[in-house]
């Protein structure tokens, strides 16, 4: 089968089982190695290091010394190096291809960021060295803080949270601290049905009760639904709301300001999940929308590596109402330079930090990369990045909407587009099958089965990084697969996919029902 550019979209040899299933003598395929576990590489009988005999040393273990072999493989350096290089070659990454994982913003990680992060002034410092000797690093944190506050129109920032969900926890802890400071017993947090699962989990973790708000037929949360929820629970019980904007259906919450007003009027706080900030960066300031707390994912919006490539970083910005409760450490400016306040004695400031989230100040390397990204784009460049991200998602939407159903009608999306599997009804092919076939086609699949508000969700986020050519190739491939599924007759080929991967479709049921949780040597 060919797509309209003549590219083969599924293996020609599917008519010839012999070629497709023939194993090589070595277990390798092409130059892609079949990599066993380190323990299977073996070498229990040899060693890769040459240690001096320690028989002269006095044994002080008091009879507790190991009697048998330690059971670790004794690999040579090239054996160990090859093992990890081969594994890395089996890893799919944003550096190897299109990665349209919705709600994850898998954008390109610019090499300039990496160059900046490798400057010795940033790499060769230690969290415990005197602050007077790391003023440059503190200045970088201060500048990043300035930009993040500027982009959001907020008052205070906590840089230290190390992931999006950690940032949510931080923001909600600030809200909890504010409520406690006011002796409030408010304990209900409103969360829309389409929210990231971490939202209700965060609220519950902090002892709040979660009340769910249904989405409207157009996929967004309506102010009247929030008002109803407030009235049902009683305005005096509302601690706040957690809302993602744009939401996980890729739609802008158009009534966000009215929602914020309703929650504020009830006396609650507005937490905004900033996971999808890439769609609005440089265009809308959450502070102007009535947001009291919002986390960023530096590893999404600000291009720092993630998905196995690097640590997350989830700074939180706070409104004036919450700014006093920001956790330590935070930066303070004086004539002597910058100070990282590690402990709040409460003497000369109004700060009432709720505590501390991390041992040190957070992910310094990610701060460098994020600021590098911000400065190399400038405000106009950031606004263009979000505009291009939205344009690319709508391009995908326009190219596929005749084949796939949009659960909330044909409306413009933000940085990601949501389809469901209703157009595949009766074909025997599911969203999962489409995703597995995409792997055979050399694409990381989109997010599937999330959000849960529609059946068989396919959430596609191309980001601004992709060229038209690369999006076209993806769209044409996906279109060919959908058309093939609708034409019927190849249902089995869909269920068999992927066929070109080092491992085929995994038995998730067996993995869950009979998990093997530790290595078992076949030779034992």
């Amino acid at each position: 089968m060919l797509n309209n550019k003549g590219r083969v979209t599924r293996p020609q040899e599917s008519t010839d089982d012999h070629i497709e299933t023939q194993d090589s003598y070595s277990g390798h395929k092409g130059l892609l190695m079949n990599e066993p576990l380190l323990f299977e590489v073996g070498g229990l009988d040899k060693t890769g290091v040459d240690l001096p005999d320690c028989s002269e040393t006095e044994n002080m273990l008091g009879g507790l010394e190991r009697a048998g072999e330690i059971g670790l493989p004794g690999l040579s350096e090239p054996e160990a190096v090859r093992h990890y290089v081969r594994l890395s070659q089996q890893n799919y990454a944003i550096d190897s291809g299109f990665y349209p994982l919705g709600s994850c913003t898998m954008k390109h990680n610019p090499r300039l960021n990496e160059k900046m992060a490798r400057l010795p002034g940033f790499t060769d410092i230690h969290p415990l060295q005197p602050q007077s000797s790391v003023q440059g690093a503190l200045q970088l944190m201060e500048q990043l803080s300035h930009w993040l506050l500027e982009l959001t129109g907020m008052e205070a920032i906590a840089l230290s949270p190390k992931a999006g969900a950690h940032g949510e926890l931080c923001g909600m802890m600030a809200i909890k601290a504010a409520l406690e400071a006011a002796d409030s017993s408010r304990n209900i947090v409103l969360v829309p049905e389409s929210a990231h699962g971490t939202n209700p989990a965060t609220a519950a973790q902090l002892g709040f009760k979660v009340a769910s708000i249904p989405a409207d037929a157009d996929g967004t949360v309506r102010a009247h639904a929030v008002q109803t929820a407030i009235e049902e629970n009683g305005a005096e019980t509302i601690a706040g709301i957690m809302l993602t904007n744009p939401n996980t259906c890729g739609l802008f919450e158009r009534e966000i300001k009215a929602i914020a007003d309703a929650v504020h009027e009830a006396g609650g706080y507005f937490y905004c999940d900033g996971a999808n900030f890439n769609a609005i960066m440089g265009r809308v300031r959450p502070g102007d929308l009535g947001v009291d707390a919002m986390h960023f994912n530096l590893h999404k919006t600000f291009s720092t590596p993630h998905g196995g490539g690097g640590p997350g970083s989830g700074p939180v910005v706070l409104s004036q109402r919450l700014s006093a409760f920001a956790p330590v450490p935070f930066l303070q400016k004086s004539d002597d330079g910058l100070t990282l306040i590690e402990h709040e004695d409460g003497d000369d400031t109004e700060a009432e930090p709720f505590g501390r989230l991390t041992a040190f100040h957070g992910q310094m390397g990610m701060y460098v990369r994020a600021l590098s990204y911000i400065l190399s784009h400038g405000l106009d460049g950031l606004a263009q990045a979000s505009g291009d991200a939205v344009l690319n998602a709508n391009y995908v939407r326009a190219k596929l909407k005749h084949l796939l159903n949009q659960p909330f009608g044909d409306q413009a999306c933000m940085h990601e587009v949501l389809f469901d599997e209703s157009s595949l009804a009766g074909t025997g092919v599911t969203t999962l099958d489409i995703a597995k076939r995409l792997i055979d086609e050399g694409f990381h699949p989109m997010t599937i089965y999330f959000p849960l508000v529609c059946k068989g969700a396919m959430l596609i986020e191309p980001t601004e990084s992709e060229s038209q050519a690369s999006i076209d190739l993806f769209v044409e491939t996906l279109a060919s697969l959908i058309e093939e599924a609708k034409a019927g007759e190849t249902e089995e080929a869909f269920h068999q996919a992927p066929v070109h991967t080092p491992r085929r479709r995994l038995d998730e049921t067996a993995a869950a029902r009979k998990p093997i949780l530790r290595f078992e040597s076949s030779s034992n």
Binding site: Y449, L452, E508, T509, A512, R513
Partner: protein, 125 residues
């Protein structure tokens, strides 16, 4: 004489001699896919109608199981806890979840019978 009722959230209640046996319907298990874990309520727990009573986890999703009627649990299906696949193989038989008393018989009348439930499933497909 056993009489079975169905809820809109795809639980069934089989009533025999004043004891209700509750589980998920065949349609529910087909939507969930392979079930890998169930969390059942301890005996002696009291529920209101619509309370979250159990959790079922499949390779696709984790879902709550709501009790369609108020009552107090009297027994949980130990076999199901040990072998969650029973909920796939025989959901409305050996794959039952728990048994409970019936506080208010009237609540049963608000549930669907088999024909109504089949029509409900068809409508929502």
């Amino acid at each position: 004489m056993t009489k079975t009722y169905y809820s809109q959230s795809h639980e069934y209640v089989s009533v025999e001699d004043g004891v209700a046996t509750i589980g998920i319907t065949h349609y529910a298990q087909s939507q969930l896919g392979d079930i890998v874990f169930v969390e059942l309520p301890e005996t002696g727990r009291g529920f209101k109608q619509g309370d979250e009573a159990a959790v079922v986890e499949s390779v696709k999703a984790a879902s709550e199981v709501y009790t369609p009627i108020a009552g107090e649990t009297t027994e949980m299906n130990e076999d199901l806890a040990a072998n969650p696949a029973l909920a796939n193989e025989d959901p409305e038989g050996a794959g039952w979840f728990f048994k409970q008393t019936i506080t208010n018989e009237d609540e049963l009348t608000k549930l669907m019978d088999r024909a109504q439930y089949d029509a409900f499933v068809k409508e929502n497909q």
